[in-house]
Structures are given as C-alpha cells and as structure tokens.
C-alpha cells in the first residue's frame, strides 16, 4: 500500500563482493530506519534524506564521505547534492576535500547562498565560512579504498569495470507527511579519477531530481553514462508521460544501457508514496521504510520485508541459495 511518509535509500549499484554484502545491507537498513524515524516525528523530507545520507557518509563501507574511493593521486574529492521538490531549490558541492559530510555542505549551499553549486576551493572556503570543521584527509581513507586504488594504478587497469561494483555512491528519496518530496546523493566519485573530475552526482537532473508534482530520483552507477542520458530527469519525464515508477525506472536504465552502455541503479518515489529500487547491475544495496515496514534487497528481484521495530538482525545470506525468501509482499509495485 502506498502511504506517506516513505523513504528509500541506496548504497550503490554494481558487483559488491560477497564479503561486504552484509555490511552494505546493514548500512542501508540503518539509514532507512533513521530517515523514517525523522519523518514519523514530522520531520521534512529534506531532513530525512540528509539524515540518511549522513549516516551512509559516516559509514566506511560506502563510497561517500568516509570510505570514498581515491583519485589517481590518492586523494579524496567528493560530490554531493540535495534537491527540494517543493521549490525546485537545490544545493551541490563538487570535488570538495577534507570535510566529513558533503551532503550537509550541499544543503548549506541551498539554504545559505543564491547559488546551486560550489566547487573545489570555493566549496572549501564556504565550508570554513559556515564553521564546518576541516578534517584530516586520512580520516576519510580506508584500507579498502587504498587497496582498490593500488589495484587500479597500472595503465592497463580498467577502473570503470573495477568500479562498477565494488563501491557505491549513496542516496535517498523521501516523501514526508506534508507531501513534500526531496532527494540527496553523495559520492567519492569514480575510482582513480583525474583530479577535478566531476561526475553525475552534483549535476542537477543527472545525479538527482525532485519535484513535488512528479517525484524524486537518486541514481548510482557509471557517472559519465548517467550524465549523458540525464538519468534522473529522464525517469521523471517518463512518469510525467504516465508511466509507473517501475516502468519509468526500467525504461531509463534500459535507455542508458542501449544508448551508452552504462550500468547502474536508481531509487524512485512518486507523490503518492509509490516507490521502486531498480538496477541493471548485479546488485544494488537498498532499503525502504513505509507503513511501519522495512523493505530491503541486494540482488535482482529480491524483496525482503520485516517489521521496522524488529531488533534482531536478519540471517546472513548463504553463498549459494539466493532464491529470495519473500515474506508477505506489501510492496507498492503494481506489476
């Protein structure tokens, strides 16, 4: 049953190594729960998505904030965006360094400036003006990200291939009790990228879009491909033409594969609270909270549901048996 409020969160699309699956899954579930608690208490959709993405940025499992992939030079440059569906206001930062929560800085760009995007040095200067503490770059770097960086230093490495899976951009979409819609996306970008490379994430229409009249999208996947097809805006355009959230998401992803051979995933929500988490990569860690239920999945058609109050962690998935154990399907998909 579609109902409000609702929040859907993703932790990246690709080929997540088995060893990291349970951490990714736990991470997105925690973020969805936290965002939902915020919404239930009457918080805005914007508050909820920023809360959820902040948790994911702090979680070293994901390619955002702490745990971000490294640039060619071994540094961390992060992109983030928020968008408010009521006013179409937005804030973004690109190639920003040495702050713990780019999504919060993006929100400040929206709230405190007349601009939509600040980059690099300018973004850092703004952070200082806002009293946001600078953090040591080392605090954002993990063993795992160093290991992945080293593996992709050789000239014949294929970072896109390698990236497409191991580590994910994070994002969230939400509709609050007032019917306001918001989204947020955050990332460390592409593995071993050139310094100054900006991907889809901070580009409105590509890395995010929210409109109270249509819905919201937060994508993950191959950034350059997402940009070329302006994925977020494209999916909402299909919805404007009458497609369901699921049809629109699938059409957008199919187009991105056909036209520019890019893989990825999206979380999408509409004004009524209908939502989907769809992807054409092997996996995408996702979770949604709605009507007292927590929904989550990782592979293909997986869709697990449990009561949101349930404290016990789900059993870790066995290596072979990936036939989803569906509980009563309360998902809003109309297919």
């Amino acid at each position: 049953m579609a109902s409000l409020p609702v929040i859907v969160v993703h932790g990246g699309a690709g080929n997540i190594p088995r060893a990291r699956e349970s951490m990714s899954s736990a991470g997105v579930r925690e973020a969805a729960k936290a965002g939902y608690v915020c919404l239930q208490a009457g918080g805005s959709a914007m508050d909820a998505v920023v809360e959820a993405v902040t948790l994911l940025e702090n979680n070293p499992t994901f390619n955002a904030g702490r745990g971000s992939v490294l640039t060619q030079k071994g540094t961390v440059e992060m992109d983030a965006i928020v968008m408010d569906g009521r006013t179409l206001a937005s804030g973004a930062v690109s190639a920003v360094r040495r702050i713990a929560n780019p999504v919060q800085l993006a929100r400040l760009v929206m709230d405190k400036t007349s601009h939509l995007c600040l980059t690099a040095e300018g973004a850092s200067q703004f952070a200082r003006n806002m009293g946001i503490p600078e953090v040591q770059e080392e605090s954002l770097i993990t063993e795992y990200s160093i290991m992945r960086w080293r593996k992709n230093l050789s000239p014949d490495a294929n970072p896109v291939e390698s990236h497409m899976g191991k580590m994910g951009t994070v994002g969230a979409v939400a509709v609050d009790l007032q019917g306001n819609i918001a989204c947020a996306t955050s990332t460390g970008g592409m593995l071993n990228k050139m310094e100054g490379r900006v991907g889809d994430t901070p580009c409105i229409g590509c890395g995010a879009y929210a409109d109270n009249k249509l819905g919201a999208v937060s994508p993950t996947g191959h950034g350059e491909a997402i940009m070329k097809v302006t994925l977020s805006r494209l999916i909402l355009f299909y919805m404007e033409q009458g497609k369901s959230v699921r049809e629109a998401a699938d059409m957008g992803l199919a187009y991105m594969w056909d036209r520019v051979q890019g893989r990825g995933g999206v979380v999408v929500v509409d004004p009524k609270g209908e939502w989907v988490a769809r992807f054409n990569s092997l996996q995408m860690a996702w979770a949604a909270a709605q009507g007292g239920q927590l929904h989550y999945g990782m592979y293909g058609e997986e869709h697990f549901t449990r009561d949101i109050q349930e404290q016990k962690e789900p059993e870790p998935q066995s290596q072979e048996a990936h036939s989803p154990t569906r509980s009563t399907d309360t998902h809003t998909d109309t297919q």
Binding site: S90, L116, C117, L118, A120, E195, K228
Partner: protein, 300 residues
C-alpha cells in the same frame, strides 16, 4: 540534410551602447561556423569555431577574454554518441570551450573543475594567460568598484552559445560563460552542467540556453526543451513553453536557441533582449529585440 547553425550572445537587457557590437559579433560567429558546415565539416567543429569567435570578441561578451575572473565553459555535446566535455571554475584560459572539447576527446570523463581542469590544460599544452589579458579595462574598473562597495551580485546574463546541424544530420551544441559578476568563488552555474545549459541528441535536437543560471538549472531547461521537441512540438513552441514554465515555476528569465533533426530552428527569449544569429541556406537571420527577424544574404 541542410546544414544550419544558430548562435546566441546572451539573454539580457543588452544596453544600446553594446547592441551594435553584440549583433555584429553573433553574425560573424554564425558566418564562421557556417563556412565549416558548407565545406562538409562537422557540427562539432562548427560550434567550436563559432564559440571561439565569440570568446574572442572582447568588447561585447563576457566569456573568454572579457571574462570576469572566474570562467565556466561547457562544450559541445556530440549528438551521435552523447559524448560531452565540460569545465567549470577555470581561470585565465582564453578559450574554455577548446579545453572542454579536450576533456571530451582526451579523457574518460565529462567534467573537470578548478585546479584539476587547469592541470589538465597544462598537460595538453593549453597555456594560461595572465589575468590582465583576460579582463578588459571596463571589467577591471567594474570589479574594483564592486569590491569596494560590496554591492550585491549583478545579473550579467552574458553567456554565449551555439547549436548546429551538419550535412550528415549530426547535431552539436556548446555553451560558454564567465558567469555572474562577482559571484562566489567556485560558483558553478548552469553552463557547465550538462542538461541545463546545453544538451543535444541526434534523435531529438540541440539546445543552448542563457539567462538566470540558477533558474535554468532548477528546471534543467535544455533537457526540458528537448523533451518538448521529442513530444512533437516545433522548436519555437518547445522553447516558448519551457521558458514560460521556468518563469512560472521559479520566476526565472532567459532564452534559448534550438535546432531539430529536421532543421527546424528557433531563437526565443523572455528577457528584454537576446542577441542571436542563424545561418542556413543562402540567408543570415538575426535579431536583438523580441520581434526581430532580420535577414540578409550570406554571400554578402
């Protein structure tokens, strides 16, 4: 396929003192770009050349040499492959559009910013020029004036852009700007954001936008115009409907040029003026004020 190129020099209240030079500038750029198309050159080359001509025009335009300290530039999207290149927040480069094209052709990425963009420029032999060469006298005086009196940001909607259709039916677009005067350091406007300042797709059309950058971004104007063209609207109607939406939804004004795969084209705006010129067939069309549609022979 009949080659066509449309060029704009920004949608804003162009003062009379600059009007003549601005119009001359876009006409020259359109002629230059069209010359490439006539000999069978690509849409991509045509728009880049037109952009460079505009960037060179010191007196009238903001981008390139006249740029107010911080420069954004987005290059042509290639409508066949959807390849794109963009740079933001680069300083002291005479032709940001050429740098953006290099991002598209020489890297796996679409957009580079700030120091990373400058480093890349150096690595491919694009030299930076001292700030003095990039600021005209009036720019420098103006900047100093604003610095002293900390006046609020003045909207200088003087972005430049071009869209073209070549004889093969390929489309390309480019947009370049120095951005709003005295904007915050590191502010990235609509120009270098794919989908807002410009977009094109051989299957749908090509668009370059100008006007209030933040409004353009909020409604992803270029993509919106193309969605409307994909729904079957004529270029003119697609642009008008989209500009009207931007006005209603986010109270932003601006303009856009567009070409459809059929060659149908438009140059429309909701600001007081927009300098534009189109070269097609034997004719050069151009205008400044809302109802303008002047025509002269290209061979002139």
């Amino acid at each position: 396929m009949e080659p066509t190129i449309v060029v704009h020099g920004g949608a804003w209240a162009v003062p009379d003192s600059l009007a003549e030079a601005s119009v001359a500038g876009v006409k020259a750029a359109a002629r230059d770009g069209f010359a490439i198309l006539k000999i069978g050159g690509s849409a991509l080359d045509a728009v880049e050349l037109a952009e460079r001509a505009l960037e060179d025009d010191l007196a009238a335009f903001d981008a390139g040499c006249g740029a107010v300290l911080n420069t954004d530039g987005e290059v042509e999207l290639d409508g066949k492959t959807l390849a794109a290149g963009a740079v933001s927040s680069v300083r002291n480069i005479t032709h940001p559009v050429t740098l953006a094209r290099a991002v598209m052709e020489k890297t796996d990425h679409i957009m580079l910013t700030d120091r990373g963009a400058s480093q890349f420029a150096e690595s491919i032999g694009i030299t930076t020029v001292p700030t003095d060469a990039l600021m005209t006298e009036s720019e420098r005086r103006e900047w100093e004036h604003y610095k002293k009196y900390a006046v609020g940001v003045k909207e200088g909607h003087d972005t430049v852009g071009a869209v073209a259709l070549d004889h093969r039916g390929n489309l390309a677009c480019v947009t370049s700007t120095g951005g709003i005067r005295n904007k915050m350091v590191g502010r990235v406007g609509d120009t270098s954001i794919i989908v807002s300042g410009g977009y094109d797709d051989d299957q749908s059309g090509a668009v370059s936008c100008t006007g209030h950058g933040e409004s353009i971004m909020k409604v992803t104007l270029a993509r919106l115009i193309l969605f409307n063209m994909e729904l079957g609207k004529l270029a003119r109607d697609a642009v008008d409907v989209s500009l009207a939406y931007m006005g209603e939804r986010v109270q932003g004004g601006g303009g856009a040029i567009a070409i459809a795969p059929s060659g149908d084209w438009a140059a429309r705006f909701t600001t007081q003026r927009m300098v534009w010129a189109t070269a097609k067939g034997e004719s050069l069309f151009y205008g400044l004020d809302p109802q303008d549609m002047f025509e002269e022979k290209l061979s002139k």
